[in-house]
Each structure stands twice: as structure tokens, then as C-alpha cells.
């Protein structure tokens, strides 16, 4: 083997000494392998500000609590669960916050460690509530294969929201495994029809259910959400 060919096989060794990094070339070696690892089933709950995703998430957490499930909750907005987070923790769940207003850039790099921490704590199921600005498809992709996405749609305000952030909202719904049309108790017939037409356009094949998270989600909807994680 020529010295040139040998030089092509060089690898880097990185040394941390006294907190300071340095690097030097060394001989060839194995490649590091970094994978997503194995996570419990994960439900990502997406939706624009005010759509009711926190209400939904807390309702689902309580419903799971009643059935003896040990769940971990990951939120990425400061104060998103607030006092309810304390309540959930008292019920034996773990709430972890992942900070950052926009889930692109470096924030998503912290997603896996946060999920790993909840897994290591012993969570059977993970509920993730990203910021309303999150790219749901990218988040779901980073979390491996046992991920389901529920998109919460604020039916009375959809007309404005879909114009305010058309690509963000449309892409989130398009990635969803289930769309929950929320606030139906205060939605008009026009709101309902407009939401239906919009969904026919952006996510025609995605199942959709009408709910009102504030007044209570029927058991059959919770069961359907849980089945997404099977």
C-alpha cells in the first residue's frame, strides 16, 4: 500500500483535556454509529396557538392515568402546561420542557435526548406537544417509526389561521394520522363546511373527528387515538 493510499485512510482523534478540545489525525478506524435508539410509542399533538392542543393533551393524559398508564410528556413552550404539569407530575407522570420558540435549527437536536430521558424514566407512552410553529413532519421523522401525529384544528378560527400560515398549517395537517376538528360546540355551520372543504384539499385521506376538548372528548375518540400507537 502506498503512503498516499495510507494517508487516504486517516481518521481524526478528538481529545478533550481540561475542558478544551483538540484534534489530530490518526490511523483508520471504525465509524461511529448514531441511531435513534428505541423509544416507546410517541404521540405528537400539533396545532396552532389557541387550537386546544394543551387541553387535548391534558385530557388524554388524565384518561390514560385512569387506565394505569405511565406516561411522559414533552412540551416545548415555556409554561405550556404550567400548574397542570404539576398536577400530572403528582399523578405519577413526568413532564419535561424543551425550550425554544421555533422547532427548527438547533432545538430539534435536543429532542432525542429529552425523549431518551423520559424513556429511561420508564414512560410507557410519550406525549409530545411542540410549539405551534413546529414542522410536524420533521419532528415525527426524528422520533423514529413508532410515532403518530394528531393535528388539532381550531374550526372557528381556521379561516384566519390558514391564511396566516398557509404552508405551516397545511403541512401539519397533511402529516397527521388523525385530525381533530375542535371547538365544534361554538363553530357555525359555515365554519364546519369551510373546514371540511379545506381538509378535502390539504389532507383528503386523513380521518377526521369532530370534538370539543373543552366540554369533553368521547371515550371512543381517546380509544382511537390510543390505537394509533399500537
Amino acid at each position: 500500500m502506498s503512503s498516499l493510499r495510507a494517508s487516504l485512510r486517516r481518521r481524526l482523534a478528538v481529545v478533550v483535556e481540561g475542558g478544551r478540545e483538540s484534534a489530530s489525525y490518526v490511523g483508520s478506524g471504525g465509524q461511529p454509529s448514531v441511531g435513534a435508539g428505541s423509544f416507546p410509542p410517541i404521540l405528537v399533538v400539533g396545532g396552532f396557538l389557541g387550537s386546544g392542543k394543551t387541553t387535548f393533551l391534558l385530557g388524554f393524559a388524565h384518561w390514560l392515568t385512569d387506565r394505569g398508564r405511565r406516561i411522559g410528556i414533552l412540551v416545548n413552550e415555556a409554561g405550556a402546561v404550567d400548574v397542570d404539569g404539576v398536577v400530572l407530575a403528582a399523578e405519577g407522570h413526568r413532564v419535561q420542557e424543551l425550550f425554544g420558540g421555533c422547532a427548527c435549527c438547533s432545538l430539534v437536536g435536543d429532542l432525542r435526548p429529552a425523549v431518551e430521558a423520559l424513556r429511561d424514566w420508564g414512560a410507557e407512552l410519550l406525549l409530545v406537544e411542540p410549539s405551534g410553529m413546529a414542522d410536524l413532519a420533521r419532528l415525527a421523522g426524528l422520533l423514529g417509526s413508532r410515532v403518530a401525529v394528531v393535528a388539532i384544528v381550531d374550526v372557528p378560527r381556521l379561516g384566519v389561521i390558514a391564511r396566516a400560515a398557509p404552508r405551516l398549517v397545511g403541512a401539519g395537517v397533511a402529516r397527521a394520522d388523525l385530525v381533530l376538528l375542535n371547538k365544534m360546540d361554538i363553530a357555525s355551520d359555515d365554519d364546519r363546511n369551510a373546514a371540511g372543504r379545506w381538509l378535502d384539499e390539504v389532507a383528503p385521506d386523513c380521518p377526521r373527528r369532530e370534538v370539543s376538548a373543552d366540554t369533553g372528548v368521547p371515550d371512543q375518540v381517546w380509544e382511537e387515538v390510543l390505537r394509533l400507537l399500537d
Binding site: 484534534a23 409554561g79 425550550f99 421555533c102 427548527c104 414542522d135 396566516a164
Partner: protein, 364 residues
């Protein structure tokens, strides 16, 4: 051999660099070279500069980024910002109603918030490097700054319901940006980056970009150009729908995120601007192997480097946990790609090609 600054200038001017320039975007990541977290040095110009100098020596890349985050301006405007290890976040927006806007004033960069910290860091970096490398602060673009003052989703709704108030807010944010940019220019910055994640094509439409982003960013870019500095336009996510608009605003460098195909971007705007990017900062830079990164970078170089007007880099800010080996693999890919006189690329070696492993290939 060119120095770092000369190499970047050649790329911007579409003349011949000696090899492909590279800026991995190791902003907060650079602090870890001396074992610092963002929170520990946020108000310490000396430590920030020392870490950036050490990182430049370690990575041997072509630019040194001053600052740590894009919350400096909104914090000065009155929003409450907290830093959780390395991620700053607004925990309280300063205005709850757009009509409260009149209570705000343009900050004084000499005295307010962390602006003097960053400008002092620029001075220290310029003193150390002179004109051997590019000293470039990261700053916040007007629309993103507005979102940190009022809330991102609130702002997007207001763009529909109260556009005249949004324009007033954007005007204030632009004035804030201009004051900060002027201070950075006076401190010696060679280039200035406007970070505009909220204007991503992943979030807003081209029409919204035209009304709420372009005119305001252009004012920042015009200021830098008037002072002979290089403005850089960075938008996260998929920017293909607004690429032509971005290229028309007067910033000679477009820093593009990973969803863009760099070959497509080169075809669309490569004759008029220098494009920089765009390896995925998480899925590749954080989680892939050095070999995978090296070959992915060579794919990007193959797509966009010919003809000059190209800088290799990550698509966005690196996570602080990004392995040093991965950053060095990106830099090595650039060092291995030299320009011929006709501005085509010749790879002089295959630094990360084990003899028993075929080079991996990845979809664009």
C-alpha cells in the same frame, strides 16, 4: 494559498477561490471548544471571543461568528429572555396588544442589553484576526424580531387582521436592527447575518414575504452595502418559493437551509448571488458519521460549487453537541475541493474513503 477572508471574498465576487470556502455555522458549538455553555458566557465578551478564536484554530473554517443567538434585539426592546443551557427563549413578550407598540423605543447599542457585549466581542475578534478571516455577527431579522416582541403565532394572525399595525411594528424592529448593525459595523464586522427563521417558506407564503419581509430586510442590507460590508440573508426551512425575492434584496450571500436542493438554487439565483449551505445540521451534522458527512458535503459541492459563488456549510446553526469529528469532516471536504482556472472543481483526494467501504450516496 488564500487566507480565509480572501477565499470568502472570491466566492462572493464569483472569482476563483483557491478551494471551496467553508463555514459550518458553529455558533454556540464554538463555545464548547473551551468547555463553555451559552448561559455561562452570555454576558462575557472576552470568554466568547476566546472560545471563537480557539474554535477557529480547531476547525480551520473560513469565518468566525460573533454573538450566540438572535434574541439580543428583542431583549433590548423589553421582552424577557431566559437561557436554558444553550437555547435562549422568550418567556414574556413585551407587548400584549399591538397598540402598546408606542411604549417601545429603539435601543441604544452602546448601553442597552447585550448589544455592547456582542459589539465588544466583535472588536476583540477583529483585533485578533485583523483581515485574515471573516468576522460576522448573527443578528435577528425584522419579522423574527417582531415575533419575539409580540409572539410568533400572534404576529402571523395580526398579519391578516391588523396589517397596518404589523407594519408599524416591523418599522420599529427594522430601526432597532439598523442601530445594531451600525454598531456592529463600527466595531469592525466584515459581514452581518440577518437570521429570519419566521420568514421560512415552511411557514409563510411568497406574498407574505413580499409584503412583510423583503422591504424591511432590504433596509438592513442597504446599510451594510453603504459601508462596504457584506450582508448575509439567512432563512430557515424551504425557501425555494421565495428564492428569487431573497436574491433581489441586495444581500450578496444567501445562506440556505437543508430542504433546498443547492443545484436548483444555483440554477435559479447562482448568477447573481453567492449561495451558502446546506447540509442538514441535525440529521447529518449531529447524528451522521464523519464519513457520511464528508461524502454528503462532496455531493453538495458537486451540485453548486462550479463557477464559484458558493460556500459550503450547514443549513443552520449547529447543535452544541455536534461532534468535532463531524465539523472537521465538513471542513475537509471543502479543503479537498480545489478550483481549476475555468472555475470547475477538482477533488484532490478522498480523505474519508476507507479502502474497504464504498462511498455512501444520499438523496439530495
Amino acid at each position: 494559498m488564500m487566507n480565509h477572508l480572501e477565499r470568502i471574498v472570491a466566492a462572493v465576487q464569483h472569482t476563483k477561490p483557491d478551494r471551496v470556502p467553508v463555514t459550518p455555522l458553529s455558533i454556540n458549538r464554538s463555545l464548547r471548544v473551551l468547555g463553555y455553555t451559552t448561559r455561562s458566557v452570555l454576558n462575557d465578551s472576552g470568554k466568547m471571543a476566546a472560545a471563537k478564536i480557539a474554535a477557529s484554530a480547531l476547525f480551520d473554517d473560513d469565518a468566525v461568528v460573533a454573538g450566540t443567538d438572535l434574541f439580543v434585539e428583542s431583549e433590548c426592546l423589553g421582552s424577557t429572555v431566559e437561557v436554558y443551557e444553550h437555547v435562549p427563549v422568550v418567556v414574556d413578550y413585551v407587548i400584549k396588544e399591538l397598540r402598546d407598540l408606542d411604549k417601545l423605543r429603539v435601543p441604544d447599542p452602546a448601553t442597552d442589553g447585550r448589544m455592547p457585549v456582542v459589539t465588544q466581542e466583535i472588536r476583540l475578534l477583529k483585533e485578533h484576526f485583523g483581515d485574515t478571516t471573516v468576522v460576522v455577527p448573527v443578528t435577528c431579522g425584522p419579522l423574527t424580531m417582531a415575533s419575539q416582541v409580540y409572539g410568533p403565532e400572534q404576529l402571523l394572525i395580526a398579519m391578516i387582521e391588523e396589517p397596518e399595525w404589523v407594519h408599524r411594528l416591523l418599522d420599529l424592529c427594522t430601526e432597532t436592527g439598523l442601530a445594531y448593525w451600525k454598531a456592529c459595523i463600527d466595531a469592525g464586522a466584515h459581514a452581518l447575518v440577518a437570521l429570519e427563521p419566521l420568514s421560512s417558506g415552511t411557514i409563510i407564503s411568497p406574498d407574505q414575504y413580499r409584503e412583510f419581509v423583503g422591504p424591511y430586510c432590504k433596509r438592513l442590507f442597504d446599510l451594510a452595502n453603504e459601508h462596504g460590508r457584506v450582508p448575509v440573508n439567512h432563512v430557515c426551512g424551504d425557501t425555494e418559493p421565495v428564492l428569487d425575492q431573497m436574491a433581489s434584496l441586495g444581500a450578496p450571500i444567501l445562506q440556505l437551509d437543508y430542504p433546498i436542493n443547492m443545484g436548483t438554487a444555483k440554477q435559479m439565483v447562482g448568477d447573481t448571488v453567492c449561495i451558502a449551505g446546506n447540509l442538514n445540521p441535525i440529521e447529518y451534522m449531529l447524528y451522521a458519521t464523519p464519513t457520511e458527512i464528508y461524502w454528503a458535503c462532496r455531493d453538495i459541492i458537486g451540485q453548486a460549487a462550479a463557477g464559484s459563488g458558493f460556500i459550503l456549510g450547514a443549513g443552520c446553526d449547529l447543535n452544541p453537541r455536534t461532534p468535532t469529528e463531524n465539523i472537521l469532516a465538513m471542513v475537509q471536504a471543502a479543503k479537498d475541493a480545489v478550483y481549476r482556472d475555468d472555475l470547475s472543481i477538482e477533488f484532490v483526494q478522498d480523505s474519508y474513503l476507507p479502502l474497504d467501504v464504498k462511498p455512501p450516496r444520499f438523496p439530495a
